[in-house]
Every structure is written in C-alpha cells, then in structure tokens.
Symmetry: C2
Subunit: 139 residues, 2 copies
Amino acid sequence: VANSRFALAVHALAYLAHHDPKPTTSEAVAKSINTNPVVVRRLFAQLNTAGLIATQPGVGGGATLTRSPKKISLGSVYAAVSETPAIALHRNRTNQRCPVGKNMTGILGDVSDTVDTAIEKSLSRTSVADVLTKTLSKN
Amino acid sequence: VANSRFALAVHALAYLAHHDPKPTTSEAVAKSINTNPVVVRRLFAQLNTAGLIATQPGVGGGATLTRSPKKISLGSVYAAVSETPAIALHRNRTNQRCPVGKNMTGILGDVSDTVDTAIEKSLSRTSVADVLTKTLSKN
C-alpha cells in the first residue's frame, strides 16, 4: 500500500464501531484522525462502494456499519481500499532479447500476487472490533 | 513497498545468478532491466551492505553473489531493500482527547508489523534460484 488509506480506513471504521449503531459524520471522524473532512468523505465513498458502511445524507445522517464490527476483518478493509499491489513492479519494459529480462515482469507479477494474498490472509485474523477493543484498553 | 526497489533487486539478483560465478557489471544488469546503470549501482550498494552480493571495482570487476542463489530467499531480499513498512500510517497526530483516536497510531503500528512479518514469511518460500528457473522456463 503506497499511501495511508488503509490506516485511515481502519481508524474510521473503529470510530464508527465505537458509536455503533448511531450514524457518524465525516466531521466527527476527521476530528479523531486529525484530518480534513473531505479526506474522510472520499474514504466513506470507497467503504460504501465496498459495502462496509452505509451513508445517509442530511441532518442526523452520517455513516453506519453494515454489519457487526466483529464481522469486518482488516483483510476486507485492505481489499476495499488498496489500489496498488504491495510489491511495485518496475515500469520499464524489460529487455526482450535478454533471457533473464524477457519474462521477468510476469514472474514478478506472480510474486506480487502471492504477497497480496499473504497480506490479506494475515489481516483476516483481526477484525475492526479487535482494533477498537485494543485501542480502548490502552486508555 | 512504496517503490519498485524490491522488483529491481530480484531482477538484478536473478541476472547475477544466471552468470554466477562470473562478476556482472551494473551496465549489463541495467541493460536487462532497461534502466540507468546509476540505479543499479545504488541497488548494488544496498545489496552489498546487506551481504547478498560482493562488488569488485575496476576492469573485469562487477558484482557476484555471496552464496548460492538457492540460499537467497526473496524474504531476505525484501528485508534488504524495503525501507517503508508495507502499511503506511497516517502522519497526523491523532486526536489525543478522543478515546478511539488516542492510541490508534500504536495499534496500527502493530498491524503494520504483522503485515511485514507475513510478507517476509511468504517471500521466504521462494529463492532467487526459483525466480531464475521460472524465468528461463518461459523462454
């Protein structure tokens, strides 16, 4: 993950879980993260598309989780917001006359897929509820 | 991994393995990758520091592997060249008066460490020799 979107998403979902089932505004989440509400609204849109939250516009509206925070694994959060593969490939077209370079991009793509699978698997063991419990237990 | 250094390193090491035990110049590797030799020299310096290659300056010099390509796992390559954690954290200082935000950075740091461990573990199953074999078998 090249950017911090995953970290922001976990924070936002833990915040929603803490206030569950009350709807939470992007302003409230932004205040907890200490960022701009616009960033959170963009994140909400992505999490909404992934089916992890529902958003309700207008006064008294906001975002709510679509299922129990115990049932939202960090793996599904990662799948929802990560856009780039974990292992960036070099963009150069490798030398097609070199026996080593010729097929390297495909091989590295396979390695990258393996890593992405490992990441999602390791993250699937932790839920948003776990994150919230751990955070609150440190207070 | 935010940048493509890992992919470049695997490519370079597979190239060295292919020419093992003859020393390989940064120019030759750069030609295979289709990049600038300066990029490869910087990479060589890092791999040298990590003890994965030895470099010999001057005419007839170049880089050689310090051990059998079977004994160089992609996990050790990843450990050698990755600088940023796999999961980027948000840089904002989270709201210290918010019960959810207060300790979130530490919790997300733990998640990031777990992911890094999972990545290295999944990569430890593949060696530079495996990558070379796969690449050549596609020719």
